[in-house]
Structure formats: C-alpha cells, structure tokens
C-alpha cells in the first residue's frame, strides 16, 4: 500500500498535499496496489473529498498532541501509523515540514529514501527514483534497496489530477509521545502567497536600484496573483525581506511562471529557479546570462516595461 502523508497547518491542508496525493495514486496504480492518505490532527477540510485525488482511504490521527508540528513527535507517530497500516511506500512533499520528517521516518522504518524526487519511479526492474541534484542542474536516478521505500516529491514537479471519487475515513489510535518542543509564536505574512506554493512569481534584482522602486513589482504581482521574490544581493542589502531570496543559498522554487526583472542570471541565482516551467527575463543588457535560461525575453528598461506589462495584463483580463 502507498501511504501519502498530508501536511496541515492551522487545521488547513497544505496546497502541496494535492500533488503528493495525485503522485501517490499514480504510483499505486503502477504497482497495482491501493493508495491511502495519513492526516495528523484535526482539519477543517472535507477529508472524504481527498478521494478525488485517487486515495481510497484517509487515515486520521485526530489527537490534540499532534495538532501542531513537532518533528520528533510526528516522526514517531507517522512511523507507527505506517507500520500499523502496512504501508510499503510512503510519500511526502519535499516541503519545509516534509524535509524535516521524511528522512527521520525512513530511519525509523529501516527504509531507503529519495528526497527531491522529480518523477514517478521506474518499477519494472527494482525501484529507481529520479531526483534533482546540483541545485536543479542535473538529475540522478537512485535505486532504493530496502523493502520499504520513502519518497519526498519536489513541489510543482508532478501536477494535480483531480478525478471523481470519495475516500473512506478511518480513525487511527496511535500512542502520542510527549512534545519535544514548545511552539511559542507563529507569524504569518498576511495577504501574501507563500513563495514555495506560488504558481506565478515576479522577482527582481539589483537592476531596480533601490527598495523604493519595488512598487511596480508588487503591482504586477498583485495583477497576476503572483508571489514576489528577489536575488540575494537585494535581500542582503535589506531592500527586501530574507524570505524572498531565491537561489542556490535561498529558496529553490519551481513555479509555472517566473518573471525576472533586472536580475543578471548568475549561476547561483539560476540554481534556485531553473525548474520553473516558463521563464520571462526583462533586462536592459542583451548580454545578460539570464536570457540563455529564458523562454521569453524583453530587452529594455524595466522602469518602462514592467508598468507596460501590467497594463497589458489588465487590458487582457478586462477583454477576456
């Protein structure tokens, strides 16, 4: 059985869950077995509706002790639940929480793990998972040698495939260990789309000259419903908050659309965004290396192009 771990925060299922469910269901079909989901804590979402993504059963541990993320507690509970349920493959999102617990769960289960998976495994001979390595500059195919397997799937690499279907819900009774941490505060950046979950991203670099010029970037992002990002020197100079820094030493993202404004396209920057499906580069220097990695390019002054692009999108929206 393929067991898909569903992450929740504040009683809400994370967006990344729908993709791992679709992936787990496709893998189960390939292996000729069932796909099930595992949820820790109470959620406001309709769990039976997760059947739409191909799982037949949702297992829930609705205990107050697992309402909030605690890597050590979650690891023990998930490993115990997987054993009890008889899971042979476990799927996690390669998200912030997924990265924290999937390798630990693999250890507890004596399972081999591949994190950062980018496609379904090849299972005709062995169990070979392809993952991104060298910050998206290459792929490695890795054979998992153990009977139980754990995969953490790169976000936005497989897709979400809703169908018809509902899932049964089964409450699981698992011993909950004592908390290992005490969460004292949670601050969410209000009204913003989390960068790792965004399908559209508008990003800007040092070409914008100073923090006072970000208004047009925020306006464009708002028009598109996009998240904002930036290059490392921009966050290092505190022109933008650190959580917007993408690249080899910042966030690695893979949105459907990445618009880079006034960013030269240094190799360390590309390492964080090269898995984006479509890249648009706006730069006044025709020799900027970013154009080599781009799908669409506009050569010219960002201060003219960005507002014009915003107008064109508004016009197209009004016309549609």
């Amino acid at each position: 059985m393929v067991l898909v771990y569903i992450d929740q925060a504040e009683k809400q299922i994370k967006k990344s869950a729908f993709e791992v469910l679709s992936y787990g269901a496709a893998l189960a079909k390939q292996l000729g077995c069932a796909a099930e989901a595992l949820v820790l804590g109470n959620v406001n979402d309709d769990l039976a509706a997760l059947g739409k993504y191909g799982v037949t059963k949702v297992r829930q541990i609705a205990n107050e002790g697992v309402q909030h993320f605690d890597a050590k507690v979650y690891t023990q509970v998930i490993a115990a639940a997987a054993q009890k349920a008889g899971a042979t493959v476990l799927i996690f999102a390669h998200s912030i929480n997924g990265k924290a617990i999937a390798p630990a769960v693999a250890v507890k289960l004596g399972a081999g793990i591949v994190t950062g998976a980018s496609a379904l495994p090849k299972t005709d001979a062995g169990f070979i998972v392809t993952k991104t390595v060298f910050s998206g500059k290459a792929f490695a195919s890795i054979q998992i040698e153990t009977p139980i397997k754990v995969i953490a799937l790169n976000q936005n690499s497989f897709g979400v495939f809703p169908q018809d279907g509902t899932a049964s819900i089964e409450a699981m009774d698992i011993d909950i260990p004592n908390p290992s941490i005490k969460i004292t505060s949670t601050e969410l950046v209000k009204g913003e789309i989390p960068l790792t979950e965004a399908s559209l991203v508008v990003s800007a670099g040092r070409g914008l000259k100073g923090p006072e010029n970000w208004g047009m970037i925020e306006t464009l992002a708002k028009t598109l419903g996009a998240a904002t990002a930036c290059s490392r020197p921009v966050s290092d100079s505190d022109w933008r908050p650190h959580h917007e820094h993408v690249g080899q030493t910042g966030l690695q993202i893979a949105p459907n659309l990445y618009i880079a404004v006034g960013i030269s396209g240094a190799i360390q920057h590309l390492a964080g965004v090269n898995r984006s499906k479509t890249i648009v580069v706006i730069n006044k220097d025709p020799e900027a290396p970013f154009f080599k990695a781009a799908d669409y390019g506009v050569i010219g002054d960002a201060f003219e192009i960005v507002p014009a692009l915003n107008e064109a999108i508004l016009k197209s929206k009004a016309g549609a």
Partner: protein
C-alpha cells in the same frame, strides 16, 4: 556545552556539472571544492558566536570523507572550532553518512548538533533529520535564528508563508539556513591556528547502504529565448496565455 558542527565538502557553486564513466560518476576534473555554504555560513559561524558568548563552549567539527576532505575541514577550523573529526569514508548514501555522524555524536555526548539545511550537491536535506531519529533527539529544521539561555534554546524556523518560534531543552539537532549568522572570512591568525588544531581520523563503522546511484543526467537545454519587443507587451501577454498557457 559541547557543539558538534557537521561539515560537508561540495563543488564550488560555479563548478561545471558533468559526469563520467557512462554518466555514473560526477566529473571532479577541475572542480574547486568548498565548504557547503549552509554548513559554513550559518551553522559553523553560529556555533562560533555561541563560543564567543560563552568561552566554555567546546566546538567539534565532523566530516565524513576521505583524505581529499582535509583542506575543507582545515578551512573550517580556520574559521573556528576546537578540533575536527574525519570519518574516513566516501559515501553517497545519506543513511550511511548520518549513521557515522551519529556514532561520533554518541561518543562525544554533544548537547547540540548543527547541520546545514542541505548540501548544494545532492540537495537531500536528510542528515539532520536522520541524526535526530538515530539519536532520538528533538529536531528543528531550516532554523534562521538560535538563542541559548542555560539549557533552553529559542529557535525560529521558516514555515510556509511565515515564521515559527519554538523552545526546547538540549540536546537537540538543528539544521541551519540564512539568518542564523553572517558569513565570515578566515583571517591569518585563524589559518595559522588551524594548522595545529587536532584533526582526528576515525575509521567508519559498517552500515549497509539503503540506496545506490544508478546514473546521472543533464536536463534538456532550453530551445532558445523568444524575444519580444519592449513596446509590445500585448504580444508577451498573448504568448504567456496562448503558447506557454501559464496565465
């Protein structure tokens, strides 16, 4: 307090990524090696800062690698740390590496173990998480802030769309990222001191690998950029809608 800082050797960020032996091995020809930036800039420097606050703090560095890792571990010692341990093993399997570090960690009875958020070569983000499971310690990942008062640590970590603050009692494993500390450059005194700091070489314990790398592949090259005139943003919008189908 005793801190163990995990150090990994990675290719320089500008290294050419190529493979040899029928695409089964990373081509190390001409590659410059660096300390994995997350290990160097964030975990090591934060550990050094903790020692600056409390000189009784002992910092040990650990790396799992063969003799060619020594320049990297010496460079790390030049930044700070009291001594280093090298487990004499070259492995690509996260579980094997984590098991070696766990053995060192148990023997040294460390209060705090720092790792980087991930390495920039295999990007697996596994070592910290696995260590916490093997050692049965609390784990906070992607930490961007760490303060210690007595035995209680206050840690901030990134979460989707925000930040979370938590407290825990040591011992614990923490994986570090941007925000923990500011990058430092080793000075001459540090480099001289590093030459005489102890570097212990330990033979590995036998641990069975759970995974094997079968092959590597480079992604298909982009077909080439389509240029749109700066005064024709309607055309760019049309392409994004009709051709790329992303808006």
């Amino acid at each position: 307090m005793k801190v163990l800082v995990c150090i990994s050797k990675t290719p320089d960020t500008t290294a050419k990524i190529a493979f040899t032996e029928g695409n089964t091995k990373f081509d190390e020809n001409g590659v410059q090696w660096i300390i994995n930036p997350y290990d160097e800039w964030y975990s090591l420097v934060r550990a050094i800062e903790l020692k600056e606050q409390d000189p009784a703090t002992i910092i040990h560095l650990v790396t799992v690698g063969e003799a060619d890792s020594e320049p990297i571990i010496r460079k790390a010692l030049a930044l700070g740390g009291d001594e280093a341990i090298r487990v004499n093993l070259n492995s690509n399997d996260s579980f094997v590496i984590a098991s070696q570090i766990a053995t060192i960690a148990k023997e040294g009875a460390y209060d705090l173990i720092f790792t980087g958020k991930e390495t920039i070569d295999y990007n697996s983000s596994c070592i910290g998480s696995m260590l916490s499971a093997i050692l049965d310690m609390p784990f906070v990942s992607s930490a961007n802030h760490f303060e210690l008062a007595g035995n209680t640590a206050t840690i901030k970590r990134e979460i989707e769309g925000g930040e979370e603050t938590c407290e825990l009692n040591l011992p614990a494993v923490i994986s570090c990222q941007k925000g923990m500390a500011e990058q430092r450059i080793p000075n001459m005194r540090g480099i001289m001191a590093a030459r005489t700091k102890p570097l212990k070489i330990v033979e590995p314990t036998t641990v069975k690998a759970t995974t094997t790398i079968k092959s590597f592949e480079l992604p298909a090259a982009k077909t080439g950029v389509k240029l749109v005139e700066a005064n024709n943003m309607d055309e760019l919008v049309r392409l994004l809608k009709e051709e790329a189908k992303v808006i």
